[in-house]
């Protein structure tokens, strides 16, 4: 059975990646393959890496309030590469009113501050992106 492959990225200029790296740790601990693109990845880089790395899941972390500009671009980029079936998750400081908007655009789920990383692991396992 193929391991679930999760691509994680900080899109935009914000450099705080403690949360994303914690999530990475938990995903690896759960046996998933994690590819981290590092800081300041562009939406295009994320889409390309999702294709090249055959990602099942793309996880984006936003803490600087730029999610409503940047998350849609990642989604568009994935669509352009016909990666519509990739599960896109967002974590970070996202106002409640933005959550349905992001989900309407195609983000599968938004995880707000305080979410135990284990919950994200379970969510990915539950949706069985690659099982």
């Amino acid at each position: 059975m193929k391991k679930t492959r999760v691509l994680l990225a900080k899109v935009g200029l914000d450099g705080h990646d403690r949360g994303l790296k914690l999530v990475a740790h938990y995903l690896m601990e759960a046996g998933m393959e994690v590819i981290y693109l590092g800081l300041r990845a562009t939406p295009e880089q994320v889409a390309k890496a999702a294709l090249d790395e055959d990602a099942d899941v793309v996880g984006l972390s936003f803490l600087a309030g730029d999610h409503m500009v940047l998350a849609p671009r990642v989604l568009e980029g994935l669509k352009r590469k016909q990666l519509d079936d990739v599960m896109v998750l967002v974590g970070g400081i996202v106002l409640k009113r933005d959550i349905p908007l992001l989900e309407g655009m195609g983000v599968r789920k938004v995880f707000v501050p305080g979410t135990p990383p284990g919950e994200i692991v379970k969510f990915i396992q539950g949706k069985g992106a690659a099982t």
Binding site: K10, G12, L13, D14, G15, H16, D17, R18, K21, L22, A24, H25, M28, V34, Y36, L37, G38, L39, R40, T42, A64, G65, D66, M68, V69, L70, I93, V94, L95, K96, I99, V112, P113, G114, T115, P116, P117, G118
Partner: protein, 529 residues
């Protein structure tokens, strides 16, 4: 059941004179304002002068930030602290493609001197001190501040303030670097060298543990890595021929105020003592001012909780109390709503009032270092000092902090601590009220009105920038940028050339563009293990 501090130091049920014998008093504590400064950097501390209440603010356009600053000053704030937006921190103009969505968002957007002039409109620079959270692009923002002073008729010698200018912790923790480590370090030292001659009251660096802590480090790592960074800067400055007693008095420091009150207070006390020893023993500093670990400290945002957010007011009160009991020179208190958005004005006011209540009502500022002599606090101070020092030995053995950073060791240590903390939260061993215990209500629910970003900020800022470009003399700009390029080629101090360029209204992006073309941009390896 075992009891430990938040950073895992075992805690006994009761502490007695065997944990801190009377005979240790002179050597380990001494009088406040005297070596080894455990009890404080000044003899009278808050009796002589209260700490500076320095609230971090800045958002949107320069006009809005100017309004918030004037409000804070009217309400009794005694120092200013500017938050810059990410494009400004990364040397991008507001019209750069990569800046889209980030203009004016986590701080104020500054593209040219015109914006800095607006921020300080009606604020006489000789009467305030200004702290700027700026690192990779610090020389440009400092030059703009000096130019505003010049325009207000305030000589550089009278300007007071701080540039964070601590680039090493950007590579470790905060991620806001632009150029590779070596030229970055050169720029940081250019400020040190320039200010020593021309802006003598300026705090040239604020070497910050705060961000290292926020990245997941525990209290001991925070202290150790901050001191290791300080050692690296001091060695580099000496390598440039600067004498330690000429620049060290203008270095300042910053540590976070996290969860464990006594551990944090002990950390600040240990920091002062260990630092004074390093300065005398390692660097043979003679000027007592070189030995002072002067601090600007603030609430660790990561300890704030989005669930039941009003509880954050209580947490922030504790942060401020730690800061005061720990003897900081300036304190920032966070706003309760920071987990949702930029602070609203009401939340910013409560944060300031928290400090004022401590200062004027609680009596905690009446005497110096009130926790001294507590068997527990003294024993904890010793233990933190010992543990931090053993980290420093390890880093020395690796060949110093630059090597330790490059090898990924520091990042790995911080990540391991972040994971330890999270696991303890998962298991309930560490309690976070409202999050893993005493939950009620839903995450992301805010009970009061939040700050709303003006959706037009980006457009307004781009218009301002375009107007500046129309007004200025392009040939002056070109000439200044060419001059900067030559300065860099000759490996001279960039400050005079940057100052000329900002006065010609060259933009931040243009100035950093010259540096980028020369030094390139740094891309850190994405490290997970």
């Amino acid at each position: 059941m075992t009891f430990t501090t938040d950073s895992g130091i075992p805690v006994k049920a009761v502490y007695t004179p065997s944990d801190f014998p009377e005979r240790d008093y002179e050597a380990k504590l001494g009088a406040p304002g005297e070596y080894p400064y455990t009890r404080g950097v000044y003899p009278t501390m808050y009796r002589g002068q209260l700490w500076t209440m320095r609230q971090y603010a800045g958002f949107g356009t320069a006009e809005e930030t100017n309004r918030r600053f004037r409000y804070l000053l009217d309400e009794g704030s005694t120092g200013l602290s500017i938050a810059f937006d990410l494009p400004t921190q990364l040397g991008l103009d507001s019209d750069a493609a990569a800046a889209e969505g980030a203009v004016g968002r986590v701080g104020v957007a500054v593209d040219s001197l015109a914006d800095m002039e607006t921020i300080f409109e009606g604020i006489p620079l000789e009467r305030v001190s200004t702290s700027m959270t700026i690192n990779a692009t610090a020389p440009v923002l400092l030059a703009m501040y000096l130019a505003v002073g010049e325009r207000q008729g305030v000589p550089a010698a009278k300007l007071a303030g701080t540039t964070q200018n601590d680039i090493l912790k950007e590579f470790i923790a905060r991620g806001t670097y632009v150029f590779p480590p070596q030229p970055s370090l050169k720029l940081a030292l250019d400020i040190v060298e320039y200010c020593q001659k021309h802006v003598p009251r300026w705090n040239t660096m604020n070497i910050a543990g705060y961000h290292i802590r926020e990245a997941g480090a525990d209290a001991i790592q925070e202290l150790a890595f901050t001191l290791a960074n300080a050692i690296a800067y001091i060695e580099a400055a000496r390598g440039r021929g600067l004498a330690v007693d000429e620049f060290a008095p203008r270095l300042s420091y910053s540590l976070g105020c996290s969860r464990d009150l006594f551990e944090e207070v002990a950390k600040y006390r240990a920091a002062r003592r260990l630092f004074a020893r390093i300065m005398t023993e390692r660097f043979q500093a003679r000027d007592p001012k070189s030995l002072l670990f002067r601090t600007f400290s603030g609430s660790c945002g990561s300890t704030l909780v989005a669930q039941q957010p009003l509880n954050n007011i209580i947490r922030v009160t504790l942060h401020a109390l730690m800061g005061v009991l720990g003897g900081h020179q300036a304190i920032h208190t966070a706003c309760w709503d920071e987990g949702f958005a930029l602070p609203s004005q009401d939340a910013a006011t409560i944060a300031l009032r928290t400090q004022q209540i401590l200062a004027y009502e609680s009596g905690v500022a009446n005497t110096v270092d009130p926790l001294a002599g507590s068997y527990y606090v003294e024993s904890l101070t010793d233990e933190i000092e010992r543990r931090a020092e053993s980290y420093l030995c390890e880093i020395d053995a690796m060949g110093g902090m630059l090597r330790a950073i490059e090898s990924g060791y520091i990042a790995r240590e911080i990540q391991a601590a972040a994971v330890r903390h999270q696991k303890a939260v998962d298991s309930g061993e560490k309690v976070i009220v409202g999050l893993n215990k005493f939950q009620s209500g839903e995450a992301g629910e805010s009970p009061a009105e939040l700050f709303e970003m003006d959706p037009e900020v980006e457009a307004k800022q781009k218009n301002n920038l375009a107007a500046v470009k129309r007004r200025r003399s392009q040939s002056d700009v070109n000439q200044a940028l060419t001059q900067l390029e030559q300065t860099i080629s000759r490996n001279e101090n960039v400050m005079p050339a940057v100052l000329d360029a900002v006065k010609a209204y060259a933009t931040l992006g243009e100035i950093c563009g010259v540096m980028r073309s020369r030094w390139g941009e740094y891309r850190a390896p994405a490290q997970l293990r």
